[in-house]
Symmetry: C2
Subunit: 234 residues, 2 copies
Amino acid sequence: MTEDRGPAKKPPMRDVLAEAAFGLFMERGFERTTVDDIVARAGVGRRSFFRYFPSKEDAVFPDHERCLADMTAFLEAAGDDDPVETVCDAARLVLRMYAVNPEFSVQRYRLTREVPGLRTYELSVVRRYERTLAGYLERRAAGAPDAALRAEVIAASVVAAHNNGLRSWLRSGGEGDAGAEVDRALELVRTVWGRAAERPAAAASEDEVIVMVAPKGAPMWRVVQRIESAFGGE
Amino acid sequence: MTEDRGPAKKPPMRDVLAEAAFGLFMERGFERTTVDDIVARAGVGRRSFFRYFPSKEDAVFPDHERCLADMTAFLEAAGDDDPVETVCDAARLVLRMYAVNPEFSVQRYRLTREVPGLRTYELSVVRRYERTLAGYLERRAAGAPDAALRAEVIAASVVAAHNNGLRSWLRSGGEGDAGAEVDRALELVRTVWGRAAERPAAAASEDEVIVMVAPKGAPMWRVVQRIESAFGGE
């Protein structure tokens, strides 16, 4: 996820274009910058731009396509671990992409909040991540009743939690530990949807625990009766 | 939510424009239809169109603004009920808007799947519903630790479940009971995030003693489900 750029190494054209584009967006605003302005600054022809980016919006988010490909590959290579843990780990790939360059990520976050077209673009990208995670979860739960529903709800939860953590970090100006923010947020999802949720019966045979809710001053005979009926009845 | 249109009553200009627009989109395709085509068919001037719709996309979804306003009003008027039940009810307002005119909703669903610009538009609208629900949940949980995180994750879950149910119904061609599809989907969210999850003990009556056997590491939703069935079943 890190980029090695030796001082003598010429950066790839794609990076040059993205950097020229972002610089202009920050200086002049996104709407007032044309593709012609961008290629002029990068010192290349107009067709070079469209070879790398389908649109101006894509140049603002140059790494999402690669990150989506990384996520897909990560999920394809995942083993039999808890699927919810796996999608949380997959979501962390997005965070890491942002965390590689905090200053750029924070500036872009601010730019995105000001330009409706970029917000919409971002929503589309987020939706693609969400569908990638949901697709994986559905395949893992294949055949289970409501597999698709469950997969979609869990994927939406993971994405919402991840973005909550990521946004906290971006709002703070990229200070502090982005990973810790996102871990804290994902913890809520893991607690609610983690593996035990998938096959509680298998886990139950392992180690039973009795959770009891009783009013203050409940008579012991009633407590004992309930414990007995809980064991006998189920 | 229903529209009363007597045979002798002239439909409002807004409806005339939306109908002309949609007819043309179905006949010629969304991209190949211009605003000039729409106003020509509706028999009005170009400025009339933009008085009602900021863009061509808005004419495809003429009722979302009103539905968002209805949702906001509904949430403002909501009492002390379980906030998760309340946001599920609020989400059902969207479903009802679709269910008013199944044929139109199904045609639009098919059109939207073919036109990237409409899909993006829809994502923006969905996001606005999600934020409206999250805002309400956060206000209800004000002061609680992680109120915003929790609100965002629950709102995302509600929206994902609602849309899963809505999509099932749309894919089936608008046959069957849309409400039942959505209720079934929302049930998953209610089980996991509903009030019982917040304070299970408070629901117990004075002399109740509840004994529950749960596997170690059981997810909260399953614990809650057990507690609920204990309350309901006894």
